[in-house]
Amino acid sequence: MQCKKLKERVSLLVVVLLLCSSTKAENKINATTDTGGGGGAPPSGYKIVTFNWQHVMNPYIISVWIMVASIAKMVFHMSSKLTTIIPESALLIFLGLLLGGVVWAADHVASYTMKPTLFFFYLLPQIVLDAGYFMPNRLFFGNLGAILTYAVIGTVWNAAAVGLSLYGVYLTGLMGDLNVDGMLDFLLFGSLLAAVDPVAVIAVFEEVHVNDVLFIIVFGESLLNDGVTVVLYNVFDSFIAIGGVNVTGVDCVKGVVSFFVVALGGTLIGIIFAFLLSYISRFTKRVQIIEPGFVFIISYLAYLTAEMLSLSSILAITFTGVCCQKYVRANLSEGSATTVRYMMKLLASGSETIIFMMLGISAVDVSIWEWNTAFILLTLLFIAVYRVIGVVTLTWILNRYRVVPLGFIDQVVMSYGGLRGAVAYGLVALLDENRVKEKKLFFSTTVIVIYFTVVLQGCTTKSLVTWLKVKRSEHRDPLISEKLHGRAFDHILSAIEDISGQIGHHYIRDKWENFDKKYISKLLMRKSALKSKDQILDVFHNLNIKDAITYIAEGERRGSLAFIKTPSALQLVNVNFNSNKQSEDEAPTSSVLREDASAICLDMQAVELRRKSLRDCEDVYTHHLLQQYLYKPKKQQKYNYSRHEVTSNEDDAQEKEIFEKTMKRRLASFKSTKHGVSQSKKLAKHYKKDPSQKKRSDEMLSNGGQLVFHDPEFSDPEDPCEFDVISNGGSNFISNVARQALADTCNGIDNLVFIPEEETVTRQALPPWATNNDTVALSQRAQVQMPWSPNNFRRLMPLRLSSRSTDSFLLADIPVPEEHPLSFLPEGTAL
């Protein structure tokens, strides 16, 4: 089925492409005729419409390619199964092969191949920048030792071993007669194939989700080994240029020195540009529209500068990303940060798509192929074998020093993850055919190696990982306690190192963090960013917002705003927040409130009378509601002609305000719960006294109205009854409108007194999604848990403790005091 679908889609693409290439072929003819008569013959008259293909050809073709690639990617992801079996990279290569074949069949010329300049200047930088900018820094630096070992020693080993082994086999004559100078050609070939490719590794491992440590090691290696590869490549290339015989010992020493210069120099360039970028981002407050541009342009400049100085450009741009991320993220406004994030991902995944497709297309060119079975097979074999040997040996050495040793399974995955990719392709395409006579063979072999590793290993990595039961990374919600424990951990570990007198990893990190806080952050961060940069606070804030959004969204889904009045019956957890310290301060108030509460409860009958005129209340309530939420009629979209700023439109502002109001209400209720007084039983007694009320209990309790009277804010001088009725009637009205019997019955049970009578009704009234078989054994309250209040409202919801509730509508009208002890949101964020 899916295959068929896919075929259809692919054929569609082919048609598009054919169209495109045939126009091109046509144009060749046109071009030749045009050049003949274009300049000389005067136009026969004014043409209204002219066909200017030549004029737009290049950008047009590029755009069509990008569109084809993007559509292909879209198509691949339409069937969810396809991409889980075959990685996207492999699919794109196949597509490229197919399209290349079509073009070749039409043209008999491989018109589109990936030129090394295209790859190195326009496709690679953004992928590496993306990798650097989103690098989990802590993990990266924590495993830097291992990463460097694999990247440097591993790569040198791979290059040397593959090169020399191939040379050895060549000497035995197994490969037949090759037109090579000697050992150097093989070493050059070995070095360009040595590096594990970041693009391929990201593409494959991203879909597999292995555990963090394993990922960072494979991925970090693939990023950092570039420096080594480039140096080795340059060294051997220039040695070949000098001529194998003329290479002196001094040249070899220079080669070794150049390694350090290239790698460290590239890193240094990266750090310098990261500094520059962070510093600039500190002052971009007024030009928010171009703010994201700085990130890209300065990083790209770092890449080009390193390239200009013949240093490792990949290292440069990686380290720009790695080093600037902390400061840039803190400095940029939220909108810009999002823009950067999306731009980065767009560019990276876009060029990744193009690279893999181009890898496919470029291979369809008969003129560049040269087949040598022995050479190709042996290369494949050597690459695989030496990768395994390298990984196992290096891991063995590393494990003697690593605190967390890498296990056998990790080693298997690491060996298997040695994917070669576009970097090798770019390097082999750069070879000078005059110097390296066997360029065609090298090229063919490289392409085969890339296909073999990306397609075959890429496809099987996932099943291998599953089969070996490699520890996967878990995606879970960040918990505050986790963050707190993590923070505590850092301090504990560095303290232990201090006490035991060891200068270890934690010691260094601790010192660095202090240094960073003291000097670097002060220099590179905006003052406002400095204040609110604590991560724990961020997590806390984000979780709160997430909760609030879910809460509101769930309520809206129900089509009613009654959810705002969710009474405390939905409490899932109760924590005794009534801590000693707090209660000391607040004991007087709460006792006062308690008295107040009972006094007001007596007024219930009066309130009841007024409730009868429900219609009035509805009107009042509607007015109240409109005033609160729809305070302005929706205006026509205001067009904005300014190029320098984006103003949020009216709708957004309105939504935001509604959201903020709700948040405020939640926070206010948070505060009120701190008294933690249990009053439901007392309350129940009041109701018992009034038998007539029992009948109406269902209706009345649904409003949570009775609980209003216990609100601490109630002692406010404003007319309480008025609002009371409003809110009672109002929510009743709303729930009527919503035709949700659920809320009524559920909340009715809130009052324990009525449980016996209501029980059966409740069960029936529960909508199917609310009846959860798992919770049968739980209490009444648990059973009637509202479907729209999932457990994860924990940070906001539960704080309205067990028996206390608050009238949200009421609270909204009361300004939250400034000295609110628990207004935990950072200033200027949500409130």
């Binding site: 967390v404 006490i499 035991s500 204040k531 899932l572 801590s579 948070f670 209490s779 002890p821």
Partner: protein, 216 residues
């Protein structure tokens, strides 16, 4: 330094090494460090630890130092109360909680180690040793933890509350309305840590190299 003249004899060291799982060299290095900290005395006091300059900026150093003098962490016979001074063996025992994993370990050993490490952490939070981390205790630690950032200040209590709620949710699931979550017990604590491989995190690399001279 002059740590060597009061060096314990070979047997003692070997005995300690076996008991705590450190290598003989590590024990010797730690012993030198111990002597350095204690100003060549046989016992170590709180003041000695507070005197470490690098520790000064550590926001939870009170807790950490207290852990060294907490009998729960080294005295298996009467795990209660605190002491005023500790000897080298106790010092070593506390340190041994931070030993890294060995390459070859059975699952049981790992689990054991995990429990030990978590118990140590738990003790650090549970100030009054009632087997529960009460909200008050939690707030206290969180307050100190975040005290370096002046902006958080008041919010630390809210954050601790939120963390406590999280704990309650994880450990108790849905609760009865009038049930009150009093505090995190050790069992709850374990539950919260499931999925986080603490045994790979809570460790310090104890070098075989002596660099006591570098640290003050």
């Amino acid at each position: 330094m002059g740590a060597f003249h009061s060096r314990p004899d070979e047997n003692d060291i070997r005995h300690l090494a076996e008991k705590t799982g450190f290598s003989v060299e590590q024990v010797e290095i730690l012993h030198r460090r111990f002597k350095q900290l204690s100003r060549d005395e046989d016992t170590l006091q709180r003041e000695h630890l507070y005197g470490i300059p690098d520790l000064e900026r550590n926001p939870i150093r009170t807790q950490i130092v207290a852990a060294f003098f907490d009998k729960r962490n080294f005295d298996k016979d009467s795990p209660q109360g605190t002491v005023q001074e500790i000897g080298f063996e106790q010092f070593l025992t506390v340190m041994s909680h931070f030993r890294p994993l060995k390459l070859r370990m059975t699952e049981e050993q790992r689990e054991q180690l995990r429990l030990e490490k978590l118990q140590f952490l738990f003790n650090m939070y549970d100030l009054d040793n009632d087997g529960k981390i009460s909200l008050e205790e939690y707030r206290h630690v969180v307050y100190e933890l975040l005290s370096q950032n002046p902006q958080i200040g008041n919010e630390s209590a809210a954050i601790a509350d939120a963390a406590m709620l999280e704990a309650a949710r994880i450990c108790m699931g849905q609760m009865e309305p009038d049930q009150v979550y009093e505090g995190i017990t050790f069992q709850d604590f374990l539950k919260m840590w499931t999925g986080i491989d603490i045994e790979t995190k809570m460790h310090v690399r104890f070098l075989k190299m002596d660099n006591t001279t570098l640290c003050k």
